[in-house]
Protein backbone atom coordinates (compact mmCIF):
# COMPACT_ATOMS: atom_id res chain seq x y z
CA UNK A 1 0.00 0.00 0.00
CA UNK A 2 1.26 3.45 -0.86
CA UNK A 3 0.90 6.08 1.80
CA UNK A 4 -1.20 8.92 0.41
CA UNK A 5 -0.21 12.58 0.44
CA UNK A 6 -2.93 13.40 2.99
CA UNK A 7 -1.61 10.86 5.47
CA UNK A 8 1.92 12.21 5.13
CA UNK A 9 0.64 15.75 5.67
CA UNK A 10 -1.22 14.60 8.78
CA UNK A 11 1.97 12.94 10.09
CA UNK A 12 3.83 16.22 9.56
CA UNK A 13 1.03 18.16 11.27
CA UNK A 14 0.90 15.96 14.37
CA UNK A 15 4.67 15.71 14.78
CA UNK A 16 5.14 19.46 14.30
CA UNK A 17 2.56 20.09 17.04
CA UNK A 18 4.66 17.96 19.37
CA UNK A 19 7.79 19.88 18.39
CA UNK A 20 5.93 23.10 19.19
CA UNK A 21 4.90 21.84 22.63
CA UNK A 22 8.38 20.56 23.45
CA UNK A 23 10.29 23.60 22.25
CA UNK A 24 8.24 26.06 24.26
CA UNK A 25 7.41 24.36 27.53
CA UNK A 26 9.99 26.23 29.64
CA UNK A 27 9.93 29.96 29.16
CA UNK A 28 10.79 32.63 31.75
CA UNK A 29 7.81 35.01 32.20
CA UNK A 30 10.00 37.89 31.01
CA UNK A 31 9.91 36.42 27.55
CA UNK A 32 6.21 35.61 27.32
CA UNK A 33 5.30 38.79 25.44
CA UNK A 34 8.25 38.69 23.01
CA UNK A 35 7.73 34.97 22.48
CA UNK A 36 4.05 35.49 21.74
CA UNK A 37 4.97 38.25 19.33
CA UNK A 38 7.71 36.18 17.69
CA UNK A 39 5.44 33.16 17.31
CA UNK A 40 2.85 35.48 15.84
CA UNK A 41 5.38 36.66 13.25
CA UNK A 42 6.11 33.04 12.37
CA UNK A 43 2.41 32.44 11.80
CA UNK A 44 2.86 34.92 8.96
CA UNK A 45 4.28 31.89 7.13
CA UNK A 46 0.92 31.99 5.41
CA UNK A 47 2.79 34.41 3.10
CA UNK A 48 3.95 31.24 1.35
CA UNK A 49 0.34 30.43 0.53
CA UNK A 50 -0.31 34.04 -0.42
CA UNK A 51 2.55 34.03 -2.96
CA UNK A 52 1.21 30.83 -4.45
CA UNK A 53 -2.15 32.40 -5.23
CA UNK A 54 -0.81 35.78 -6.38
CA UNK A 55 1.42 34.67 -9.25
CA UNK A 56 -0.92 35.34 -12.16
CA UNK A 57 -0.81 38.59 -14.05
CA UNK A 58 -4.33 39.22 -15.22
CA UNK A 59 -6.67 40.92 -12.82
CA UNK A 60 -9.33 38.52 -11.64
CA UNK A 61 -11.12 38.06 -8.35
CA UNK A 62 -8.59 35.31 -7.59
CA UNK A 63 -5.48 37.45 -8.16
CA UNK A 64 -7.05 40.36 -6.27
CA UNK A 65 -7.65 38.07 -3.29
CA UNK A 66 -4.12 36.73 -3.68
CA UNK A 67 -2.58 40.21 -3.78
CA UNK A 68 -4.50 41.18 -0.65
CA UNK A 69 -3.34 37.97 1.02
CA UNK A 70 0.28 38.94 0.25
CA UNK A 71 -0.36 42.41 1.68
CA UNK A 72 -1.80 41.22 4.98
CA UNK A 73 0.68 38.38 5.37
CA UNK A 74 3.54 40.85 4.82
CA UNK A 75 2.16 43.16 7.52
CA UNK A 76 2.12 40.17 9.86
CA UNK A 77 5.66 39.06 9.00
CA UNK A 78 7.48 42.40 8.77
CA UNK A 79 5.62 44.06 11.64
CA UNK A 80 5.81 40.97 13.81
CA UNK A 81 9.56 40.41 13.57
CA UNK A 82 10.36 44.13 13.92
CA UNK A 83 8.20 44.62 16.97
CA UNK A 84 9.67 41.51 18.60
CA UNK A 85 13.17 42.80 17.94
CA UNK A 86 12.26 46.16 19.47
CA UNK A 87 11.17 44.43 22.67
CA UNK A 88 14.18 42.14 22.81
CA UNK A 89 16.62 45.00 22.20
CA UNK A 90 15.63 46.33 25.59
CA UNK A 91 16.54 43.14 27.34
CA UNK A 92 19.91 43.24 25.61
CA UNK A 93 20.74 46.60 27.09
CA UNK A 94 20.83 45.07 30.53
CA UNK A 95 24.16 43.37 29.79
CA UNK A 96 25.95 46.62 29.05
Amino acid sequence: MVIGALVISLYIFVLAMFVGFEVITKVPPTLHTPLMSGANAISGITIVGALTVAVYGELTAATALGGLAVLFATINVVGGFLVTDRMLRMFGRRDR
Binding site: T25, A41, T74, D85
Partner: protein
Protein backbone atom coordinates in the same frame (compact mmCIF):
# COMPACT_ATOMS: atom_id res chain seq x y z
CA UNK B 1 18.82 16.62 -14.29
CA UNK B 2 18.45 20.00 -15.94
CA UNK B 3 19.17 23.24 -14.18
CA UNK B 4 15.44 23.93 -13.87
CA UNK B 5 14.74 20.55 -12.31
CA UNK B 6 17.63 21.10 -9.94
CA UNK B 7 16.23 24.47 -8.81
CA UNK B 8 12.73 23.01 -8.55
CA UNK B 9 13.89 20.17 -6.33
CA UNK B 10 16.11 22.60 -4.43
CA UNK B 11 13.01 24.50 -3.35
CA UNK B 12 11.88 21.55 -1.24
CA UNK B 13 15.26 21.33 0.48
CA UNK B 14 15.11 25.04 1.19
CA UNK B 15 11.73 24.41 2.86
CA UNK B 16 13.39 21.79 5.02
CA UNK B 17 16.20 24.15 6.06
CA UNK B 18 13.64 26.86 6.73
CA UNK B 19 11.56 24.52 8.95
CA UNK B 20 14.65 23.55 10.96
CA UNK B 21 15.62 27.21 11.40
CA UNK B 22 12.09 28.01 12.62
CA UNK B 23 12.45 25.34 15.28
CA UNK B 24 15.86 26.66 16.39
CA UNK B 25 14.51 30.21 16.24
CA UNK B 26 11.58 29.39 18.54
CA UNK B 27 13.88 27.51 20.89
CA UNK B 28 16.26 30.44 21.13
CA UNK B 29 13.35 32.87 21.54
CA UNK B 30 12.50 31.12 24.79
CA UNK B 31 15.84 32.00 26.45
CA UNK B 32 16.75 35.51 27.52
CA UNK B 33 20.33 35.28 26.32
CA UNK B 34 19.54 34.04 22.84
CA UNK B 35 16.09 35.52 22.26
CA UNK B 36 17.16 38.25 19.90
CA UNK B 37 19.24 35.88 17.82
CA UNK B 38 16.27 33.50 17.73
CA UNK B 39 14.04 36.22 16.35
CA UNK B 40 16.59 37.06 13.66
CA UNK B 41 16.94 33.39 12.83
CA UNK B 42 13.17 33.01 12.44
CA UNK B 43 13.06 36.11 10.23
CA UNK B 44 15.83 34.61 8.09
CA UNK B 45 13.89 31.34 7.90
CA UNK B 46 10.91 33.35 6.64
CA UNK B 47 13.08 34.88 3.92
CA UNK B 48 14.24 31.39 2.92
CA UNK B 49 10.61 30.27 2.84
CA UNK B 50 9.73 33.08 0.43
CA UNK B 51 12.72 32.29 -1.82
CA UNK B 52 11.84 28.58 -1.71
CA UNK B 53 8.25 29.33 -2.67
CA UNK B 54 9.24 31.40 -5.68
CA UNK B 55 11.69 28.69 -6.82
CA UNK B 56 9.01 26.02 -6.37
CA UNK B 57 6.42 27.98 -8.33
CA UNK B 58 8.79 28.82 -11.16
CA UNK B 59 10.86 25.67 -11.57
CA UNK B 60 8.96 22.81 -9.96
CA UNK B 61 5.49 23.89 -11.10
CA UNK B 62 6.70 25.70 -14.23
CA UNK B 63 4.59 28.79 -13.63
CA UNK B 64 5.35 32.05 -15.33
CA UNK B 65 5.43 34.30 -12.29
CA UNK B 66 4.00 37.75 -12.76
CA UNK B 67 5.48 39.85 -9.95
CA UNK B 68 3.13 42.82 -10.15
CA UNK B 69 0.60 41.71 -7.55
CA UNK B 70 3.22 40.15 -5.34
CA UNK B 71 5.38 43.28 -5.32
CA UNK B 72 2.42 45.61 -4.86
CA UNK B 73 1.17 43.59 -1.87
CA UNK B 74 4.62 43.14 -0.37
CA UNK B 75 5.59 46.80 -0.66
CA UNK B 76 2.33 48.19 0.73
CA UNK B 77 2.21 45.54 3.47
CA UNK B 78 5.89 46.01 4.27
CA UNK B 79 5.56 49.76 4.66
CA UNK B 80 2.48 49.40 6.87
CA UNK B 81 4.24 46.78 8.97
CA UNK B 82 7.45 48.81 9.39
CA UNK B 83 5.66 52.04 10.25
CA UNK B 84 3.32 50.33 12.70
CA UNK B 85 6.12 48.39 14.39
CA UNK B 86 8.44 51.36 14.78
CA UNK B 87 5.85 53.88 15.90
CA UNK B 88 3.95 51.86 18.47
CA UNK B 89 4.73 52.70 22.10
CA UNK B 90 6.07 49.92 24.31
CA UNK B 91 2.96 50.20 26.44
CA UNK B 92 0.74 49.41 23.46
CA UNK B 93 2.56 46.23 22.43
CA UNK B 94 -0.33 43.89 23.27
CA UNK B 95 -2.69 45.80 20.98
CA UNK B 96 -0.14 45.75 18.20
CA UNK B 97 0.41 42.01 18.51
CA UNK B 98 -3.36 41.52 18.38
CA UNK B 99 -3.60 43.53 15.16
CA UNK B 100 -0.67 41.75 13.47
CA UNK B 101 -2.25 38.51 14.51
CA UNK B 102 -5.56 39.50 12.95
CA UNK B 103 -3.88 40.38 9.66
CA UNK B 104 -2.21 36.95 9.60
CA UNK B 105 -5.59 35.27 10.10
CA UNK B 106 -7.12 37.39 7.35
CA UNK B 107 -4.27 36.43 4.99
CA UNK B 108 -4.93 32.72 5.58
CA UNK B 109 -8.64 33.16 4.87
CA UNK B 110 -7.82 35.12 1.72
CA UNK B 111 -5.48 32.39 0.50
CA UNK B 112 -8.27 29.83 0.76
CA UNK B 113 -10.75 32.19 -0.91
CA UNK B 114 -8.30 32.87 -3.76
CA UNK B 115 -8.00 29.12 -4.32
CA UNK B 116 -11.80 28.84 -4.48
CA UNK B 117 -12.01 31.54 -7.13
CA UNK B 118 -8.99 30.30 -9.07
CA UNK B 119 -9.73 26.57 -9.05
CA UNK B 120 -13.50 26.61 -9.11
CA UNK B 121 -15.44 29.76 -9.76
CA UNK B 122 -13.31 31.24 -12.56
CA UNK B 123 -12.45 27.93 -14.14
CA UNK B 124 -14.08 27.19 -17.51
CA UNK B 125 -15.84 23.96 -18.34
CA UNK B 126 -16.35 22.56 -14.87
CA UNK B 127 -18.88 19.76 -14.68
CA UNK B 128 -21.92 20.54 -12.51
CA UNK B 129 -20.63 18.69 -9.48
CA UNK B 130 -19.68 19.44 -5.88
CA UNK B 131 -16.58 21.51 -5.15
CA UNK B 132 -14.90 18.48 -3.58
CA UNK B 133 -15.20 16.41 -6.74
CA UNK B 134 -14.33 19.33 -9.04
CA UNK B 135 -11.11 19.85 -7.07
CA UNK B 136 -9.94 16.48 -8.34
CA UNK B 137 -7.76 14.03 -6.42
CA UNK B 138 -7.73 14.83 -2.73
CA UNK B 139 -10.66 17.16 -3.35
CA UNK B 140 -12.40 16.21 -0.12
CA UNK B 141 -9.33 17.14 1.96
CA UNK B 142 -8.90 20.33 0.00
CA UNK B 143 -12.54 21.37 0.41
CA UNK B 144 -12.43 20.67 4.16
CA UNK B 145 -9.14 22.57 4.47
CA UNK B 146 -10.57 25.54 2.58
CA UNK B 147 -13.54 25.64 4.93
CA UNK B 148 -11.30 25.42 8.01
CA UNK B 149 -8.91 28.05 6.68
CA UNK B 150 -11.71 30.54 5.97
CA UNK B 151 -13.45 29.74 9.27
CA UNK B 152 -10.41 29.97 11.56
CA UNK B 153 -8.89 32.85 9.60
CA UNK B 154 -12.05 34.96 9.83
CA UNK B 155 -12.58 34.17 13.52
CA UNK B 156 -8.94 35.16 14.16
CA UNK B 157 -9.40 38.42 12.28
CA UNK B 158 -12.54 39.73 13.96
CA UNK B 159 -11.59 38.26 17.35
CA UNK B 160 -8.24 40.06 17.19
CA UNK B 161 -9.86 43.35 16.20
CA UNK B 162 -12.26 43.13 19.15
CA UNK B 163 -9.31 42.25 21.45
CA UNK B 164 -7.47 45.27 20.06
CA UNK B 165 -10.42 47.58 20.76
CA UNK B 166 -10.81 46.17 24.26
CA UNK B 167 -7.13 46.61 25.04
CA UNK B 168 -7.39 50.20 23.82
CA UNK B 169 -10.30 50.65 26.17
CA UNK B 170 -12.50 51.80 23.28
CA UNK B 171 -15.10 49.08 23.62
CA UNK B 172 -17.02 49.80 26.81
CA UNK B 173 -13.62 50.40 28.45
CA UNK B 174 -12.84 46.73 28.05
CA UNK B 175 -15.77 45.55 30.18
CA UNK B 176 -17.47 42.31 29.19
CA UNK B 177 -20.46 42.69 26.89
CA UNK B 178 -23.03 40.03 27.57
CA UNK B 179 -25.73 39.44 25.00
CA UNK B 180 -28.86 37.65 26.15
CA UNK B 181 -28.81 34.06 24.95
CA UNK B 182 -25.27 34.40 23.68
CA UNK B 183 -24.54 30.69 24.02
CA UNK B 184 -27.53 29.89 21.84
CA UNK B 185 -26.46 32.51 19.30
CA UNK B 186 -22.90 31.13 19.26
CA UNK B 187 -24.20 27.63 18.79
CA UNK B 188 -26.44 28.76 15.92
CA UNK B 189 -23.48 30.52 14.31
CA UNK B 190 -21.33 27.41 14.60
CA UNK B 191 -24.13 25.36 13.03
CA UNK B 192 -24.49 28.04 10.35
CA UNK B 193 -20.75 27.95 9.63
CA UNK B 194 -20.79 24.17 9.36
CA UNK B 195 -23.84 24.28 7.09
CA UNK B 196 -22.37 26.88 4.73
CA UNK B 197 -19.08 24.96 4.70
CA UNK B 198 -20.85 21.74 3.76
CA UNK B 199 -22.93 23.58 1.17
CA UNK B 200 -19.75 25.00 -0.39
CA UNK B 201 -17.79 21.77 -0.42
CA UNK B 202 -20.28 18.98 -0.94
CA UNK B 203 -23.77 20.22 -1.89
CA UNK B 204 -23.61 23.21 -4.22
CA UNK B 205 -22.85 22.33 -7.82
CA UNK B 206 -22.49 25.67 -9.58
CA UNK B 207 -20.00 28.52 -9.47
CA UNK B 208 -22.64 30.69 -7.81
CA UNK B 209 -23.18 28.07 -5.12
CA UNK B 210 -19.44 27.84 -4.38
CA UNK B 211 -19.22 31.62 -4.09
CA UNK B 212 -22.32 31.87 -1.90
CA UNK B 213 -21.07 29.10 0.39
CA UNK B 214 -17.65 30.73 0.82
CA UNK B 215 -18.97 34.25 1.38
CA UNK B 216 -21.67 33.17 3.84
CA UNK B 217 -19.09 31.08 5.69
CA UNK B 218 -16.72 34.06 5.95
CA UNK B 219 -19.51 36.33 7.21
CA UNK B 220 -20.80 33.84 9.78
CA UNK B 221 -17.25 33.17 11.00
CA UNK B 222 -16.59 36.90 11.31
CA UNK B 223 -19.65 37.39 13.49
CA UNK B 224 -18.65 34.35 15.53
CA UNK B 225 -15.20 35.84 16.14
CA UNK B 226 -16.76 39.03 17.52
CA UNK B 227 -19.21 37.12 19.66
CA UNK B 228 -16.54 34.87 21.13
CA UNK B 229 -14.44 37.78 22.38
CA UNK B 230 -16.91 40.50 23.46
CA UNK B 231 -18.09 38.69 26.62
CA UNK B 232 -14.52 38.34 27.85
CA UNK B 233 -13.30 41.05 30.21
CA UNK B 234 -10.21 43.15 29.57
CA UNK B 235 -8.29 41.38 32.33
CA UNK B 236 -8.53 38.15 30.38
CA UNK B 237 -7.35 39.68 27.12
CA UNK B 238 -3.82 38.24 27.46
CA UNK B 239 -5.34 34.77 27.40
CA UNK B 240 -7.47 35.69 24.41
CA UNK B 241 -4.63 37.23 22.41
CA UNK B 242 -2.53 34.16 23.11
CA UNK B 243 -5.34 31.85 22.05
CA UNK B 244 -5.97 33.88 18.89
CA UNK B 245 -2.26 33.59 18.20
CA UNK B 246 -2.70 29.86 18.34
CA UNK B 247 -5.69 30.13 15.98
CA UNK B 248 -3.73 32.13 13.41
CA UNK B 249 -1.12 29.37 13.41
CA UNK B 250 -3.83 26.77 12.85
CA UNK B 251 -5.35 28.89 10.07
CA UNK B 252 -1.95 28.98 8.35
CA UNK B 253 -1.73 25.23 8.86
CA UNK B 254 -5.14 24.75 7.21
CA UNK B 255 -3.97 26.92 4.32
CA UNK B 256 -0.99 24.56 4.10
CA UNK B 257 -3.36 21.64 3.61
CA UNK B 258 -5.20 23.63 0.91
CA UNK B 259 -2.12 24.29 -1.20
CA UNK B 260 -0.35 21.14 -0.05
CA UNK B 261 2.72 22.84 1.36
CA UNK B 262 4.67 21.06 4.14
CA UNK B 263 6.40 24.18 5.44
CA UNK B 264 3.08 25.94 6.04
CA UNK B 265 1.85 22.89 7.91
CA UNK B 266 4.99 22.66 10.06
CA UNK B 267 5.32 26.33 10.96
CA UNK B 268 1.56 26.79 11.36
CA UNK B 269 1.08 23.86 13.70
CA UNK B 270 4.16 24.81 15.72
CA UNK B 271 2.72 28.27 16.33
CA UNK B 272 -0.62 26.64 17.12
CA UNK B 273 1.07 24.57 19.81
CA UNK B 274 3.06 27.56 21.11
CA UNK B 275 -0.10 29.63 21.51
CA UNK B 276 -1.82 26.81 23.37
CA UNK B 277 1.11 26.42 25.78
CA UNK B 278 1.22 30.12 26.56
CA UNK B 279 -2.55 30.22 26.94
CA UNK B 280 -2.35 27.40 29.41
CA UNK B 281 0.46 29.05 31.40
CA UNK B 282 -1.68 32.16 31.74
CA UNK B 283 -4.78 30.27 32.79
CA UNK B 284 -2.77 28.46 35.46
CA UNK B 285 -1.51 31.82 36.70
CA UNK B 286 -5.09 32.98 37.19
CA UNK B 287 -6.18 29.68 38.65
CA UNK B 288 -8.94 29.32 36.09
CA UNK B 289 -9.69 26.84 33.40
CA UNK B 290 -9.53 27.84 29.77
CA UNK B 291 -13.22 27.00 29.42
CA UNK B 292 -14.01 29.33 32.28
CA UNK B 293 -12.15 32.18 30.56
CA UNK B 294 -13.78 31.51 27.20
CA UNK B 295 -17.30 31.33 28.54
CA UNK B 296 -16.52 34.86 29.68
CA UNK B 297 -18.63 37.36 31.51
CA UNK B 298 -15.99 37.46 34.21
CA UNK B 299 -16.57 40.24 36.69
CA UNK B 300 -20.24 40.71 36.02
CA UNK B 301 -21.07 37.37 37.56
CA UNK B 302 -23.82 37.14 40.10
CA UNK B 303 -22.65 36.53 43.65
CA UNK B 304 -22.83 38.33 46.94
CA UNK B 305 -19.43 39.93 46.92
CA UNK B 306 -19.40 41.16 43.35
CA UNK B 307 -20.68 44.50 44.61
CA UNK B 308 -19.08 47.70 43.49
CA UNK B 309 -19.83 48.83 47.03
CA UNK B 310 -18.84 52.08 48.60
CA UNK B 311 -15.51 52.25 50.31
CA UNK B 312 -15.34 53.09 54.00
CA UNK B 313 -12.45 54.27 56.07
CA UNK B 314 -10.07 54.82 53.21
CA UNK B 315 -7.05 56.87 54.19
CA UNK B 316 -5.17 58.88 51.67
CA UNK B 317 -2.00 60.89 51.87
CA UNK B 318 0.10 63.12 49.66
CA UNK B 319 3.57 62.77 48.25
CA UNK B 320 5.23 64.57 51.15
CA UNK B 321 3.91 62.17 53.81
CA UNK B 322 4.70 59.21 51.64
CA UNK B 323 8.26 60.42 51.10
CA UNK B 324 8.74 60.64 54.87
CA UNK B 325 7.60 57.06 55.35
CA UNK B 326 9.80 55.88 52.52
CA UNK B 327 12.77 57.73 53.96
CA UNK B 328 12.87 55.46 56.99
CA UNK B 329 12.05 52.27 55.09
CA UNK B 330 14.75 49.65 54.86
CA UNK B 331 12.98 47.46 52.34
CA UNK B 332 10.55 48.44 49.61
CA UNK B 333 8.66 46.27 47.16
CA UNK B 334 7.14 47.88 44.08
CA UNK B 335 4.07 46.15 42.63
CA UNK B 336 3.56 47.38 39.08
CA UNK B 337 0.32 46.94 37.15
CA UNK B 338 -1.37 48.22 34.03
CA UNK B 339 -1.56 51.73 35.54
CA UNK B 340 2.23 51.89 35.23
CA UNK B 341 1.96 51.16 31.54
CA UNK B 342 -0.84 53.66 30.96
CA UNK B 343 1.05 56.43 32.76
CA UNK B 344 4.37 55.50 31.07
CA UNK B 345 5.84 55.67 34.56
CA UNK B 346 8.54 53.02 34.16
CA UNK B 347 11.41 55.53 33.95
CA UNK B 348 10.40 57.60 36.95
CA UNK B 349 9.85 54.51 39.09
CA UNK B 350 13.42 53.54 38.29
CA UNK B 351 14.53 57.03 39.31
CA UNK B 352 12.75 56.68 42.65
CA UNK B 353 14.29 53.25 43.15
CA UNK B 354 17.76 54.67 42.47
CA UNK B 355 17.23 57.37 45.09
CA UNK B 356 16.05 54.77 47.61
CA UNK B 357 18.96 52.48 46.90
CA UNK B 358 21.40 55.36 47.29
CA UNK B 359 20.14 55.57 50.88
CA UNK B 360 20.70 51.88 51.43
CA UNK B 361 17.09 50.76 51.00
CA UNK B 362 16.53 47.38 49.40
CA UNK B 363 14.22 47.72 46.38
CA UNK B 364 12.51 44.83 44.61
CA UNK B 365 9.71 44.54 42.08
CA UNK B 366 6.97 41.95 42.53
CA UNK B 367 5.83 40.65 39.17
CA UNK B 368 2.42 38.98 39.07
CA UNK B 369 2.20 36.59 36.13
CA UNK B 370 -0.80 38.39 34.65
CA UNK B 371 -0.02 41.95 35.66
CA UNK B 372 -0.59 44.27 32.74
CA UNK B 373 -2.23 43.12 29.57
CA UNK B 374 0.14 40.36 28.54
CA UNK B 375 2.35 37.91 30.34
CA UNK B 376 5.73 39.52 30.80
CA UNK B 377 4.26 42.94 30.00
CA UNK B 378 5.75 44.45 33.15
CA UNK B 379 9.13 42.87 32.49
CA UNK B 380 9.26 44.50 29.06
CA UNK B 381 8.36 47.92 30.45
CA UNK B 382 10.82 47.77 33.33
CA UNK B 383 13.54 46.50 31.03
CA UNK B 384 12.91 49.55 28.88
CA UNK B 385 13.78 51.65 31.93
CA UNK B 386 16.93 49.58 32.55
CA UNK B 387 15.69 48.11 35.81
CA UNK B 388 18.19 45.36 36.71
CA UNK B 389 16.79 41.94 35.92
CA UNK B 390 17.59 40.45 39.34
CA UNK B 391 15.32 42.98 41.06
CA UNK B 392 12.25 41.56 39.32
CA UNK B 393 10.92 38.79 41.52
CA UNK B 394 8.15 36.40 40.60
CA UNK B 395 5.04 35.97 42.73
CA UNK B 396 5.86 32.73 44.50
CA UNK B 397 9.34 33.92 45.43
CA UNK B 398 8.29 37.31 46.75
CA UNK B 399 5.08 36.53 48.62
CA UNK B 400 6.84 35.31 51.80
CA UNK B 401 8.91 38.50 51.81
CA UNK B 402 6.02 40.93 52.23
CA UNK B 403 5.83 40.18 55.97
CA UNK B 404 9.32 41.56 56.46
CA UNK B 405 8.87 44.51 54.17
CA UNK B 406 8.47 48.07 55.36
CA UNK B 407 6.71 49.56 52.37
CA UNK B 408 4.87 48.06 49.42
CA UNK B 409 4.07 50.49 46.60
CA UNK B 410 1.19 49.32 44.43
CA UNK B 411 1.46 51.14 41.12
CA UNK B 412 -1.73 50.93 39.13
CA UNK B 413 -2.37 47.30 40.01
CA UNK B 414 -5.72 46.28 41.46
CA UNK B 415 -7.16 42.79 41.04
CA UNK B 416 -3.76 41.08 41.43
CA UNK B 417 -3.44 42.49 44.98
CA UNK B 418 -7.06 42.01 46.07
CA UNK B 419 -7.12 39.98 49.31
CA UNK B 420 -10.68 38.85 48.45
CA UNK B 421 -9.06 36.21 46.25
CA UNK B 422 -7.79 34.55 49.44
CA UNK B 423 -10.49 35.47 51.97
CA UNK B 424 -13.81 35.47 50.19
CA UNK B 425 -14.83 32.22 48.56
CA UNK B 426 -17.78 33.97 46.87
CA UNK B 427 -15.63 36.53 45.11
CA UNK B 428 -15.40 36.20 41.32
CA UNK B 429 -11.63 36.12 41.68
CA UNK B 430 -11.66 33.59 44.54
CA UNK B 431 -8.67 31.30 44.31
CA UNK B 432 -6.71 33.47 41.92
CA UNK B 433 -3.13 33.65 43.20
CA UNK B 434 -2.38 37.19 44.32
CA UNK B 435 0.53 39.19 45.65
CA UNK B 436 0.16 39.36 49.44
CA UNK B 437 0.93 43.06 49.74
CA UNK B 438 -1.44 43.43 52.68
CA UNK B 439 1.24 41.90 54.91
CA UNK B 440 3.68 44.73 54.34
CA UNK B 441 3.96 47.22 57.20
CA UNK B 442 2.73 50.09 55.07
CA UNK B 443 1.05 49.85 51.69
CA UNK B 444 0.91 52.81 49.34
CA UNK B 445 -1.60 52.41 46.55
CA UNK B 446 -1.02 54.87 43.75
CA UNK B 447 -4.18 54.98 41.70
CA UNK B 448 -6.25 57.52 39.87
CA UNK B 449 -9.45 56.77 41.76
CA UNK B 450 -11.22 54.05 43.71
CA UNK B 451 -12.70 52.65 40.52
CA UNK B 452 -12.67 48.88 40.24
CA UNK B 453 -10.14 46.99 38.13
CA UNK B 454 -11.01 44.77 35.21
CA UNK B 455 -12.67 42.19 37.39
CA UNK B 456 -15.11 44.97 38.28
CA UNK B 457 -15.05 44.33 42.02
CA UNK B 458 -14.24 46.24 45.17
CA UNK B 459 -10.74 45.88 46.59
CA UNK B 460 -10.78 45.66 50.38
CA UNK B 461 -7.04 46.25 50.46
CA UNK B 462 -7.85 49.94 50.05
CA UNK B 463 -9.74 49.92 53.37
CA UNK B 464 -7.02 48.28 55.40
CA UNK B 465 -5.49 50.30 58.24
CA UNK B 466 -2.00 49.94 56.87
CA UNK B 467 -3.03 51.10 53.40
CA UNK B 468 -2.67 54.68 52.26
CA UNK B 469 -4.09 55.75 48.95
CA UNK B 470 -2.19 58.31 46.90
CA UNK B 471 -4.64 59.47 44.25
CA UNK B 472 -3.34 60.59 40.90
CA UNK B 473 -1.63 59.59 37.71
CA UNK B 474 1.20 57.18 38.54
CA UNK B 475 3.82 59.23 36.74
CA UNK B 476 2.83 62.53 38.36
CA UNK B 477 2.68 61.01 41.83
CA UNK B 478 6.07 59.37 41.41
CA UNK B 479 7.56 62.60 40.10
CA UNK B 480 6.21 64.29 43.21
CA UNK B 481 7.79 61.60 45.38
CA UNK B 482 11.13 61.96 43.62
CA UNK B 483 11.09 65.72 44.14
CA UNK B 484 10.18 65.39 47.83
CA UNK B 485 12.97 62.91 48.21
CA UNK B 486 15.53 65.15 46.63
CA UNK B 487 14.53 67.91 49.04
CA UNK B 488 14.88 65.60 52.01
CA UNK B 489 18.37 64.50 51.12
Amino acid sequence: MTANEFLGQGAYYIYLISAVLFIFGLKQLSRVRTARRGNNLAAFAMLLAVIGTLLELKFAKGLDIDFRWILAGAIVGGVIGIVAALRVAMTSMPEMVALFNGSGGLASALVAAAVVWDQLILKDGLAPASAASNLGDGGITEAVSIVLSVLIGAVTLTGSVVAFLKLQGRLKKGAPIILPGRHVISLLLIVGAAASGIYFGFVGETADAYATGTIVLALVASILGVLLVIPIGGADMPVVVSLLNSYSGLAACAAGFVINNPLLIIAGSMVGAAGLILTNIMCVAMNRSLLNVLVGGFGVAEGASADHGEYEGVTSCDAEEAAMVLESARSVIVVPGYGLAVAQAQHVVRELADLLEARGTKVQYAIHPVAGRMPGHMNVLLAEANVPYDQLVEMDAINPEFRDTDVAIVLGANDVVNPAANNDPKSPIAGMPILDVEHARTVFVIKRSLSPGYAGIKNELFERDNTMMIFGDAKKVLNGLVNEFKELS
